[in-house]
């Protein structure tokens, strides 16, 4: 018996030693990068004392989702959209303040520089004369025309032809000038046009021979690009690799290579970051932030246009009658300590949004200041509005109707926690909040499928929402977007129809001139605030974990990699 036990123990120890020994090799081995590269040595030549080749600067990023396509027209995935900027510049890009700056163009078209016609239908872009593809072919207006043609071709199964289907024609008076004519004035042009262009010299022959781009190799293997990096390879489910574009027309990238690893599991991503197996992680959950900070990673929070909102059902047929009174709505806003929620439940990382355009500061101008947490003032407002607790049951009532409000959101843990906090805080001012956590799929089911959110079944609904970021549009608040049996696809699940709001939304959608549009959106911003149609709980930002050895990292809320050429690794 003892002998058997000894054998078993020995085996366990041996296995541990073996693991350790193998690990040792991993930990101490010098990187074998470029081991097979370099000229063959010549035996007759005298050895020349040379410095060992510098280690390749390879930055490893983790994406929690794998992109489905690398072509700008064939995907709407955020992870694909954000990756384009490594190998395909946009005509203009968005900086860390979500403000546009010219990239392929000399300046952003405006009425002042003659880039926007008086009737607002024509946009003229002037391209830089030094831009070129990675195979040294110049980027010209023809590439823009080809991109538009491919987006609207019925032969291509593109994910979305928006916004190109709003264009009547794209012409090129010369190789550096692109003239875009819209059917009608098209306000979202700045936020939506030219997110990556197609290399006409590579893809036009494919389209002409196959009649479609659908099977083109370039869609998943875009070896020709115009960004600081070029695509190297992509192994499905595993990784994608981009290497420095040696023919880049701008300032060369500082990194040699970017290795994107697809890790779908959040806990695995956290472990990989803690172990140093990656330099940057995406979509970090709040729960993992302390552990990552302890491991020495920097946590970067970037507003992306989305925030968690409470949508109050200001609708005579659908909502609680009390919500028709703006003072009651204001009282609700003042009864909830949103700063404390963010501080205690979300580690103080995001802000409490005061504006629907929180991430687009020029539309939140002058910046709004949130209704403060002031339960006493809230009680006064409710008293003034006639909602008083006359029977002493702790719930206010008026004309025989209790101030008992339903609130629904999804079963996401943080939302349920916040529901519980709000329930208590509203009870303190005499409002009874009945909470309904609903499964995501059921909650967001369509109107035709009797989805509770689409049907407007609750007095207060809650989810993460925002404008068509980086465009400020909010067409889904229009009255004609309210769903009904005749209009089941309607997207106005808030069931608010406000004539003033309606006319302002329609006006801004036609304002091509950014300055004029800014004024209109600012009016809507103020209207939302004054009428308290929505109450912001917390910004729903993108959270990144970045290794301290990764330098010069800046993020935009629009995309991750607008300054990727500047990113570097510490020696």
């Amino acid at each position: 018996m003892k002998r058997n036990l000894s054998i078993l123990l020995s085996l366990v120890v041996l296995a541990s030693m073996l693991l350790t020994a193998c690990g040792g090799a991993q930990a101490t081995e010098a990187p074998a990068a470029n081991a097979t590269e370099g000229p063959a040595s010549n035996a007759t030549e005298a050895p020349v004392a040379t410095e060992p080749p510098a280690e390749k600067k390879v930055a490893t990023f983790i994406f929690t989702q794998e992109f489905d396509s690398l072509s700008p027209l064939y995907t709407s995935m955020w992870f694909a959209w954000t990756t384009w900027q490594m190998y395909l510049h946009w005509a203009w890009e968005f900086d860390e303040n979500n403000k546009p700056f010219p990239r392929l163009v000399t300046e952003i078209p405006s009425a002042e520089n003659g880039g926007i016609s008086e009737d607002g239908r024509m946009i003229t872009m002037k391209l830089r004369d030094d831009i070129k593809w990675s195979d040294n072919t110049p980027v010209t207006a023809d590439d823009f025309i080809f991109t538009w043609e491919m987006a609207v071709s019925p032969n291509n199964t593109v994910d979305s032809s928006y916004p190109y289907d709003a264009i009547e024609s794209v012409t090129a008076p010369d190789p550096q000038t692109v003239v875009i004519t819209f059917t009608d004035p098209f306000a979202p042009w700045l936020a939506t046009l030219w997110h990556g262009i197609l290399p006409a010299h590579v893809l036009r022959p494919v389209y002409e021979s196959a009649g479609t781009l659908d099977g083109a190799d370039w869609l998943t293997n875009p070896t020709v690009g115009c960004g600081p990096f070029v695509f190297a390879d992509w192994e499905s489910g595993s990784y994608a690799r981009f290497v420095r574009n040696e023919n880049y027309w701008g300032e060369p990238a500082k990194l040699d290579e970017i290795f994107i690893r697809f890790v779908p599991d959040d806990a695995s991503q956290t472990a990989a970051l803690q172990a140093g197996d990656a330099d940057m992680g995406t979509f970090i959950s709040y729960a993992d932030v302390p552990a990552l900070r302890d491991a020495g990673l920097n946590i970067m929070v970037e507003a992306n246009g989305y925030s968690e909102w409470m949508f109050l059902m200001v609708n005579e047929e659908k909502g609680h009658p009390a919500l028709l009174d703006v003072n009651v709505r204001k009282a609700i806003a003042m009864s909830i300590d949103r700063e404390a929620i963010v501080r205690d439940l979300l580690l103080g990382l995001p802000k409490v949004p005061a504006s629907f355009w929180d991430a687009l500061s020029n539309y939140n101008d002058p910046p709004l200041v949130n209704y403060p947490y002031n339960p006493e003032e809230a009680k006064t407002l409710l008293d003034t509005a006639g909602w008083v607790d006359t029977n002493g049951d702790g719930v206010r009532e008026k004309d025989g109707v209790d101030l008992e409000i339903s609130h629904a959101t999804t079963i996401k843990e943080i939302r349920q926690d916040v529901q519980a906090v709000m329930q208590q805080q509203l009870a303190d001012v005499g409002i009874k909040l009945n909470v309904f956590p609903v499964d995501d799929t059921l909650y967001f089911a369509s109107y035709a499928e009797n989805g509770p959110a689409a049907r407007g079944e609750y007095d207060i609904q809650e989810w993460s929402d925002g404008p068509l970021f980086p465009d400020p549009d909010l067409y889904y608040w229009l009255c004609d977007q309210i769903p009904s049996d005749e209009n089941p696809e309607g997207e106005n699940w808030f069931y608010i129809c406000d004539e003033e709001l309606d006319s302002l939304i329609k006006l801004q959608s036609t304002q091509v001139n950014a300055a004029e549009r800014q004024k209109t959106i600012s009016k809507i911003n103020q209207l939302f605030y004054d009428k308290v149609y929505i109450i912001g709980l917390w910004q729903d930002p993108d959270i990144y974990a970045v290794s301290s050895r990764l330098l010069n990292v800046k993020f935009s809320g629009v995309t991750m990699f607008f300054n990727i050429a500047d990113w570097d690794l510490a020696e």
Partner: protein, 344 residues
Amino acid sequence: MGRYIVMRFLQGIPLLLFISVILFTLMMNVGDPVATMGGRRAVRQTEYQRLRRQLGLDKPVYMQYLYWLVGNDWTQVDRDGDGIAETAGTRRGVLRGDFGVSLLNGKPVLEVIGERLPNTLMLMVASEVIIILGALLVGIYSALRQYSVIDNLLTGIMFIGYSMPIFFVALFSMYIFAVLFKRWGLPYLPTVGMFDPQVGKTTAQILWHMVLPVLSISLISFAAYSRYIRSTMLEVMGQDYIRTARAKGLPRREVVFIHALKNASLPIVTVVGLDLPLLLGGAVVTERIFAWPGMGRLFLDHVDRADMPVVMGILLLIAVAVILFQIITDIVYAWLDPRIRYDK
């Protein structure tokens, strides 16, 4: 025997057709692939209708099945949405080896599966070999030394392993051997992926990155197999012919490995035969946690977005493998037990 095998293969054809009808009908109800194509925003109605038409999803289910099975190159389709079918179809159908293209990335289904299958086989075959060899050793040892201290110890360990969810084992081992070992300054294992990008995709790197996923899969399945072997071995060891073999003075090793194990193998072969085709499906949880690019993740990712052609391809592959391995199992039965005859 040959006639039997041919018959079994022929029986498999209608069975596969039946399975494909069931699976296709189920897939039609999994979700709407076009609904997820707009990112965080809903797909505009005009785009929605266009995409459904271009992807052939606007056709009735029976037509979609027919096109999937026999292709649509014998008919014309309406690509531009003017209501007139003007473009010749290009699909040849599963019966002619065309499994279609992924709705997500436009790649041929066989190419999509072909990229992942070797990775899954690498992981699962390694795990299965370790499981079977280890389980044989432990199972036989426990059976021969029933109720000994080591038998009880192994039984306890096996039950602990069996009762632990694989995600826990996987994450726990990752945290111990990768995160904590590194923190403690010890040599450590990699967390995710197949190789270190600084080193490159070498055989050594792949083997090194396989350690934790294989360990996790093995630990879970090891328990069930070894308990199964132990019980069948115990049953066989009590049979008359084993006692006779012992009485004849045969060496213990011969009694155990030739007479007992061969007869105890029949039910084990059944279990292994049922398990092997499922290896093709990969280990969904393990592959997800270790970011291993295998079939399990492929299945999950594409089911999630209702990518019918790819999911059907994977399911059909597994169905074929199940039928194939059942035939192989029957053949192995006859080899292990001469009393089994299939020919009349």
